[in-house]
């Protein structure tokens, strides 16, 4: 457990600089859409020009039928199965995507793009607005999950793919998966939404609001113009991350990992240093997060999730949203996830049942909370493998 006071500040600064460089000049491939191809945003504004940074793994087959789109979560990026140029860590789903893995890159062509509004190379609040020559900051229109999916659709078409074999993702990525099946039902053969819901709950909006208020209460946020002033609201963003991080875990897992153990000391310090390991752990999580993520982008991403409510777009009926769907669905929830509890996932399953769609659903027993979708969970991997393989057989994809 690294104590915040021992974080290598020089290294942190280097990471932070790398993060900002990736926002402006991504080292991954980029698809640029000019004024002739604007992104029609739900906010009622056409965004142009804009760009999406993306990575691909594996090879597209001759009839272009083996493409899988992987959608990342709130603070994820398009380095799903390759080393992050910012943190130097392996891809966030490198245990699931790769040769011989549940999402087998020997069989499938995997695409993962940084969402619109993100901060790793796709157009977002840290990007430069060509009209002003300054970072967008808060002048970027508010982005929705549907906008993210609309942008991904343009990228998929740019890559010459008409129909995706599968769309897969967890948490905010799962929201994008659901939105894909509703916005473009005939373009998705199989959908695997994980640890997600068809809307953001009041409690989840509440936690996001706490996070946003923490960012905006930091004087260095400077009404969103911090990049122009050479500042960064690291304290506010770190607090936002600390709060959010608790929601990704579970009480059981916290107790198991940390209990009431003290950090590098035998007795209480009778002060407000990180006496407890859990405090030290959270501070570390906060500190490392600010090095790789843009504060304004965090505001936009959380807002997009808050606005998400598929049923609301269909007269309050989730079943109507899925009516006539020919997509094969498989939903996965985790028993100790209290951010997107099993019931939220099951509500989607019930709506799909009511719409007579083909759906599988499995709840994985684990005490690791919401974050379980990013961890090694053998039953989870088996479910992905089984579902994707059977969908591949149905799609006629050869081994």
């Amino acid at each position: 457990m690294t104590s915040p006071t021992t974080v290598d500040t020089a290294n942190a600064a280097a990471t932070s600089a790398a993060g900002n460089r990736e926002a402006l000049e991504p080292s991954s491939p980029v698809a640029v859409f000019g004024h002739d191809e604007p992104l029609h945003l739900d906010a009622g504004i056409d965004l142009a020009p804009f760009q999406l940074a993306y990575n691909t793994y594996g090879a597209l087959n001759a009839d272009r039928s083996n493409a899988i789109l992987v959608c990342h979560a709130l603070t994820g990026d398009h380095y799903a199965a390759s080393q992050s140029p910012v943190t130097g860590k392996p891809g966030w789903w490198s245990s699931i995507i790769g040769p011989g893995k549940p999402i087998d890159t020997d069989r499938y062509f995997v695409i993962c793009s940084n969402v619109i509004g993100g901060c790793l190379g796709s157009t977002g609040p840290a990007s430069i607005n060509a009209e002003t020559g300054e970072p967008y900051g808060l002048s970027l229109p508010v982005i929705t999950i549907r906008d993210m999916v609309r942008a991904q659709k343009m990228l998929v078409e740019r890559l010459g793919i008409d129909t995706l074999f599968a769309v897969i993702g967890g948490s905010m990525g799962g929201m994008q998966v659901l939105q894909w099946t509703v916005s473009y039902p005939d373009k998705v053969f199989a959908a695997l939404p994980i640890a997600t819901g068809a809307r953001h709950s009041a409690q989840n909006i509440a936690f996001h609001e706490v996070g946003r208020q923490a960012v905006m209460a930091d004087p260095d946020w400077a009404a969103g113009r911090y990049l122009l002033q050479g500042k960064r609201p690291v304290k506010g963003l770190a607090v936002a991350r600390m709060t959010a991080h608790v929601t990704y875990l579970s009480e059981l897992a916290l107790q198991r990992k940390f209990g009431r153990n003290l950090q590098d000391r035998e007795a209480f310090g009778f002060g407000f240093d990180a006496d407890f390991q859990i405090e030290s752990y959270l501070r570390h999580q906060g500190m490392t997060f600010v090095d790789r993520f843009d504060a304004n982008s965090y505001l936009y991403m959380t807002r997009a999730m808050d606005y998400f409510d598929i049923a609301a777009d269909y007269g309050g009926s989730l079943a109507r949203a899925f009516q006539g769907s020919q997509t094969r669905f498989c939903l996965v929830s985790f028993s100790s996830d209290w951010l997107f509890p099993t019931d939220e996932n099951r509500a989607v399953v019930h709506a799909l049942n009511a719409a007579a769609a083909s759906v599988s659903f499995v709840e994985i027993e684990t005490d690791r909370g919401h974050d379980a979708f990013l961890l090694d969970e053998p039953h989870f991997f088996d479910a992905i493998d089984g579902f994707v393989s059977s969908a591949a057989r149905a799609r006629g994809l050869s081994r």
Binding site: R328, C330, R346, V349, H350, A351, N353, A354, A356, S358, V359, S360, F361, V362, E363, I364, E365, H379, D382, A383, D385, G386, F387, S389, S390, A391, R393, A394
Partner: protein, 222 residues
């Protein structure tokens, strides 16, 4: 509970008797014969997906399943079957009327909390309901209760009274009474299977079936 990790509740032979797994295969084979090709089928309490896989292979059905255990669901999903984790008592309400040609409840009704509601739900969401269950009127059970004065523990009903998931037993006659008189359903087909796994003759009277049928399979229609 509707079913356990080991499979269908009545069939999980606690003392490893071979009769139980043999009974599963027979029960499933009989049901498979009753389902028409290319129909839409929902199997409630589908266990590891053995029946659904059989129906998809032999009858090319469009099959769906509901299963309570994570292990069972995982096995089904790994086999490429569309199965959700859930149970008969709470999850049927979400399906539309006439959503399926057949809704199958195999060796499960006696483990539901409310068999009457479950059965009426089957008849609502399926054109036909196929229900199989262990006959509590079988002579061996009557013997155990009537002469030995003990709750029966047989190869087919392998649990002691204090740990059985089977909470709503019925005889063949009880079932017919519920289906026809209480729910107004029509018995389209009725098959009784004796202790040696043979289908019993259709000409036999009900009392004979009720005494010698170890399991029964019914096809009901609204």
């Amino acid at each position: 509970m509707m079913s356990s990790v080991e499979g269908r509740p009545v069939a999980s032979g606690a003392n490893g008797e071979l009769a139980a797994p043999a009974a599963i295969r027979l029960d499933l084979a009989v049901i498979a014969e009753l389902v028409t090709a290319k129909s839409r089928v929902l199997d409630i309490g589908c266990g590891d997906g053995a029946l659904l896989a059989l129906l998809e292979a032999r009858r090319q059905v469009d099959g769906r399943g509901i299963e309570l255990s994570q292990t069972g669901v995982n096995e089904c999903v790994a086999r490429g079957l569309s199965v959700i984790q859930g149970d008969a008592d709470s999850d049927l309400v979400h399906y539309q009327d006439d959503a399926f040609d057949y809704v199958i409840l195999s060796q499960t009704i006696q483990a539901t909390r409310n068999p009457k509601v479950v059965l009426s739900e089957l008849l609502r969401i399926g054109q036909r309901a196929i229900v199989s269950f262990p006959n509590f009127g079988h002579w061996s059970i009557r013997y155990a209760l009537g002469f030995r004065g003990r709750m029966p523990v047989t190869a087919n009903l392998a649990h002691a009274w204090y740990e059985t998931p089977n909470i709503h037993f019925c005889t063949i006659r009880d079932f017919v009474e519920l289906a026809e008189n209480e729910l107004g359903a029509t018995v389209e087909t009725a098959i009784a299977i004796n202790a040696t796994g043979q289908k019993m003759g259709m000409k036999m009277p009900w009392w004979f079936w009720n005494l010698f049928g170890q399991q029964a399979v019914f096809v009901l229609k609204r």
